[in-house]
Symmetry: C2
Subunit: 571 residues, 2 copies
């Protein structure tokens, strides 16, 4: 089937040409006997017109929305120009018309705006994806993936594939399991990431590897998570942190230029984990606006405010022109603080020179003045431990930025968060966890050995507009250090042998220094297409309860399938 | 870490330059006090020399094979030139030397030739992959994948991702299942191919889709199969068979040119399924050599040869200069015939004008002459049904081609096998199976309805050097025809509703005519790299019993994991 043009291409320069088009009927109407048809394909819309005297007029009368048709015709000037579309200057007077496929009335309207429920959209995903806005998300995803790949290939990276049927090594998230038929009672696991494989590629001497890798986590899902997701998995040998960072910056700069025609400045800002937590209350600060967290701990140590004077920290956010916030506004913000582990939210404000607020009664006038509030200022304060105060004020900062519209549109602010602690101590389980993962290299193995709490990691996260879009590290390439790390994490020799034995083994045959990073493709696409719903950028996503609404998966299987696997269902 | 050159780059033009290299120690030897080190990276080898007076000589003495080192030095002329490597004119006189990583003696030798057992190679895959020949397989795979992708992107195809966690729709091969934790007793299935998803992309209006797609089949494995494999999955709307074929030919021509610098001629030969079976005894003929099957059925109908005269078919292969074959040779060929469903292998030969052979005694002299055997000819004959004769002679043809070295090296012969029957009747189960899959369009739906046995398919396979490297078809895009197809396959309305309900549903909302093809990437890479072992072109393959020898997967899992899934193991 040969067509002369896509439906976004024709304009006045094609007048009187004979053209051959195909597509879906986006709209059709009968105006004084003339049939007008908006013909849509993945590129755009062209208006067809069929006159009553045309031999195909009867065919045209049968046509309904979403029919698939092909048409021959001649490009003519249009009476009423439509500036909304590329082809708005012309229309095509039909000489031949064929219906390729009929269509029932679709359960969701095929247009950018939809009021369909998400469940309906997911059930009829093939129609939801027909909406131009959704097509654009997918096309952008394609373009972004190609652009990222192109830079990596140009930089000498090999795209290599790793298995999906791997081994279960639970550490961190929950694995999806796949029962083996040939060895009943044993299981494969779907990879949470190709971490070990990519390190083995380095040991095997490939030096530069990447993969657009599917990863799986059987977690209770949050709004921006899917049970399967795609990461751009990168690893290189003979590199240090700066080499990986430079590479990833190049990748992002080229991708933004190619896909969005946006110039991103290099090098990206760097900030230590400690500074991020102190000033932004999060390890993924949104740098598109200021509004830094300030430390009032010393100040309140000397003042007799209940719940303030005996807490480790009192920190706050000073919001200019925020004194007009109502009680209701502040209650909503208090809820956010409490949901994010803050014990309380206090405030002090200056309205027309009058200082008021929940804790003012405990402060002398000079103490109030010492806060330095200008007319219109409101100061929010949260007391407590460093972690809880940071978490609460981090969340409050975002809520206030939204409330006060501090976030500029179409601005992309990259940030490297660096200088991470290697470990995190879990008080409940009385053990250390790896802050990134157990293959991350310590800055100094001696500190890991003697004072694990203080050990720093050669780790770096890349953050875009408040989202962590990637995490990476220089890896341990020494068998002894790897053993020490597992040891510190409380893994027994048997655990290590059983789960990672072959990997620890592999390290001893000449492992080059190496490191890498993984970019969350879904998040990158989400941010670059300006949507806040990860499902918009995944062709066939699952619900928050990991269901495929279209296919109805997961589903029952035949008893014979379970018998072959020697599996029984039941508690 | 910054290095000035890879280890394949230096030559006489770099004399006296200071260079900075890194890599693995491929070889090291002490000749009269001088230490020579062959330094290897993924590109090649450079010889380092360390003199006894050098401050780093002590370091050099510590170095063993497979140590990872970096070295600074000066390029000097080499005394004994090595023409086997790019850098054979020079060596690097070391000024600084650092050991980055030590290495124990590896269990397999890191060189192109290996006598290691396959199990050992798979267990230490990271070392096996370090061998230059294996690196080359992986690098070629990378290049082939990029070349295929590039053509598809240039042709306007979008690379779109489909889920790995899908729904079990057993029809054909066995699914791998993934138990759901949130809905105990239900399962996802890993896709055998993205067939339904890619058709949904067409319904959704994407028009041109491809994916480098991981697919899974829980089959008893043959030598050239893996439980997971990669296919280049392609689908397009508004196409006919010729459009898909032209596209795929372009893809292959460009890929061979880019990766192997081989010019492949277009268009590829076309042959009907019927002709392939008749003349080559297989649906994937190797076109690199002639040796066609000849039909002697009529001839033997008139002659009283036992087991020949009452069989439907007697067909044969005439081998020139084959009369010298020994009894032992012929016994071996008879075994092949029997293994491939042939009931017997007879032969007639002409040695120095004397006609002899197993059936000669049943033939008159004039009947013997009528066979027209020239001096040195041997004619192999197999009696039986069409299917059994074809299968036996197809296998015999390959065996003879190997025996007589009829297969030229470095020749690539593509072939389209077309005009396939739509269905295959299984006598045992008394039902039809789809020859390709149930979404393949019939040439004429009326024939499917009234005389399914005779129905032909709009299907096409692409064959290279006797391997099926891809299969495709124009798909059914009409709901009624799809229902008719399921009906003919004996699926009940309930079956259809349960397994494919949403898909049949989807067809009614304006489905464009569409079709596509899937290329088996692993096989393409295997053929382009001239290996006969599919494991050579998969980074981390599994054994024939679907085991990962390196990771030891599948493996036991913790009881808590099974409890969460509410699963019990046992008959």
């Amino acid at each position: 089937m040969k067509y002369t043009h896509h439906n976004n291409e024709l304009n006045s320069s094609h007048l009187n040409q004979e053209v051959y088009l195909k597509g879906w009927v986006a709209k059709n109407r009968n105006l004084g006997g003339l049939m007008f048809i908006d013909l849509r394909d993945r590129f755009g819309i062209t208006q067809l017109v069929v006159k009553p005297e045309n031999a195909y007029y009867e065919t045209a009368l049968k046509i309904k929305n979403e029919y698939v048709i092909e048409a021959k015709g001649v490009v003519i000037k249009r009476e009423s120009i439509n500036k909304g579309i590329n082809t708005g200057d012309i229309e095509v007077e039909v000489t031949e018309l064929t219906i390729l496929s009929s269509a029932e009335n679709p359960p969701i309207i095929i247009s950018n705006d939809t009021d369909a429920l998400e469940d309906t959209r997911l059930k009829y995903r093939y129609l939801d994806l027909r909406r131009p806005v959704m097509q654009n998300f997918m096309i952008k995803r394609h373009q972004i993936t190609q652009a990222i790949r192109q830079t990596l290939v140009d930089e000498g990276f090999y795209e290599l594939e790793t298995p999906i049927l791997g081994k279960s090594t639970p550490e961190g998230a929950r694995d999806y399991l796949v029962p083996s038929r040939l060895y009943p009672g044993t299981f494969y696991a779907l990879p949470q990431s190709p971490q070990i494989y990519k390190q083995l590629f380095m040991i095997a001497g490939f030096e530069k590897y990447f993969q657009v890798a599917r990863c799986f986590r059987d977690e209770d899902l949050r709004a921006d998570r899917q049970p399967e997701f795609t990461q751009i998995d990168i690893e290189a040998s003979f590199v240090e942190q700066i080499d990986v960072q430079e590479l990833v910056e190049k990748v992002m700069v080229n991708t933004f230029k190619k896909v969005l025609n946006v110039e991103v400045q290099r090098p990206f800002i760097q900030m230590s984990y400690q500074e991020a937590m102190e000033k932004y209350g999060t390890d993924k600060p949104d740098m598109r606006y200021e509004l830094l967290i300030k430390d009032y701990s010393h100040f309140f140590k000397t003042i007799d405010v209940p719940f303030f004077n005996d807490r480790d920290f009192v920190k706050g956010l000073l919001v200019e022109n925020g004194s007009h916030l109502t009680r209701k506004n502040i209650d909503a913000l208090t809820d956010i603080v409490k949901k994010n582990h803050g014990e309380a939210l206090a405030y002090v404000k200056n309205s027309d020179g009058i200082i008021s607020g929940s804790i003012v009664k405990f402060m002398s006038e000079s103490e109030q003045d010492a806060l330095g509030l200008k007319q219109g200022d409101i100061l929010f304060l949260v007391p407590g431990s460093f972690d809880r105060v940071s978490s609460a004020l981090g969340a409050l900062r975002i809520a206030i930025a939204n409330e006060f519209k501090l976030i500029p549109n179409d601005v992309y602010k990259f940030l490297w968060v660096v200088d991470w602690p290697l470990l995190e101590y879990n008080e409940e389980e009385q053990r250390y966890y790896a802050k990134h993962h157990p293959f991350t290299a310590p800055v100094d193995p001696e500190v890991l050995k003697n004072n694990p709490k203080e050990a720093m990691a050669k780790a770096y996260d890349i953050v875009l507009n408040g989202y962590e879009i990637g995490g990476g590290s220089i890896r341990i390439h020494n068998q002894e250090v790897q053993r020490l790390m597992f040891d510190t994490l409380g893994l027994t020799k048997e655990d290590v042998a059983h789960r990672f034995g072959f990997f620890v083994d592999a390290l001893k045959y000449g492992t080059p220094p190496h490191g890498g990073l993984a970019l969350g493709l879904d998040r990158v696409v989400m941010l670059m297409t300006n949507t806040s719903n990860i499902k918009d950028v995944v062709a066939f996503p699952k619900t928050q309860s990991a269901k495929d609404m279209m296919m109805q998966a997961p589903s029952d299987v035949d008893q014979i399938q379970l018998d072959e696997l020697q599996l029984k269902v039941g508690k």
